[in-house]
Symmetry: C2
Subunit: 154 residues, 2 copies
DNA sequence: TGAATCCCTATCGAATTAGTAGGATTATCA
DNA sequence: TGATAATCCTACTAATTCGATAGGGATTCA
């Protein structure tokens, strides 16, 4: 049930884009330095996010990336699906990209006990990821930052 | 967030062991035929389940496998962890086999916003899989079987 | 003894993952 | 107008994992 590095990195970078101070848009070089991700690899990830309409880019000098949407309108679930495919543990339990079981292994899909369990798991994952927006994450990060500053009397 | 075939096959076979009619123990040949899984591959999976104490085996003629525990005391979560490792989408969010983030990427793990989200996901998955036993699955299968028999007036 | 069974280990091809590499294109600015 | 800094595009690759396949040894029972 593992997340790929692409899904991991994409969510980190988007959160960085939400909270970044300084000039916009933000270049891949800056993003890579701040997140400790290989720059060339990150270029590919940003390209994928761009063609999915999550970020928009500006080319040329002082170019870079910025969010194409309001953070409160962008869920983690959407991003993970773009980078890693359906959330469901088994293709037969995906609601967004359903693929039936091989017939000989699961004759009547609707009455397959294992599939109904994977559907439960899929729904449990989706409930968390589709309700959490990058706006939520941004506020959480800001409040935990405020807390740690208070702890150290800064 | 995909399940491997090993996790998939293991759960199918264990459910088959719960519901199988006929002589016990059940040979791998029979199990492979009934589940449409390659026999040699299934041997490896059964070996892993045996050394984890999920099934017990008898060697020699009329040997085979049977459950080592009561179906009501065996959860799907336990089996998936044996076959596929921790349920958490990220090693830093595993409760059973925690591995910290590389320090340069996530300085203070306790305040990492992404990690707390992966923990939520992990807990959502575990809630389903650790509450569902093979006894539950067996009863679900039997009731759906009874229903389909009634539908066809058998 | 022979057949059926589990048991163990090695191998292997295909796919996926996680990056590298190189360069073309585009925009800005001095 | 030319240098520079950025995105963009495509190909390649090394390592790992996945999903088996293969062969044979050990064990039990009739």
């Amino acid at each position: 049930m593992k997340l790929s590095t692409r899904g991991d990195y994409a969510t980190r970078v988007l959160l960085e884009l939400c909270t970044a101070e300084g000039p916009r848009p933000v270049s891949v070089t800056d993003l890579a330095n701040r997140t400790a991700i290989s720059q060339k690899y990150l270029e590919q990830i940003m390209g994928q996010l761009r063609s999915a309409g999550i970020v928009r880019s500006e080319r040329g000098l002082h170019g870079g990336y910025e969010l194409a949407r309001e953070p409160d309108g962008l869920t983690v679930g959407e991003v993970i699906r773009i980078m890693d495919g359906p959330l469901a543990p088994s293709p037969c339990a995906s609601r967004s990209a359903h693929v039936p079981c091989p017939a000989y292994r699961c004759a009547v899909e609707e009455s397959c006990v294992m599939r109904s369990l994977w559907l439960e798991v899929r729904d449990a994952i989706a409930e968390v990821l589709d309700r959490t927006t990058f706006g939520d994450l941004t506020r959480r990060q800001q409040s935990s930052l405020a807390l740690s500053r208070a702890m150290y009397h800064i």
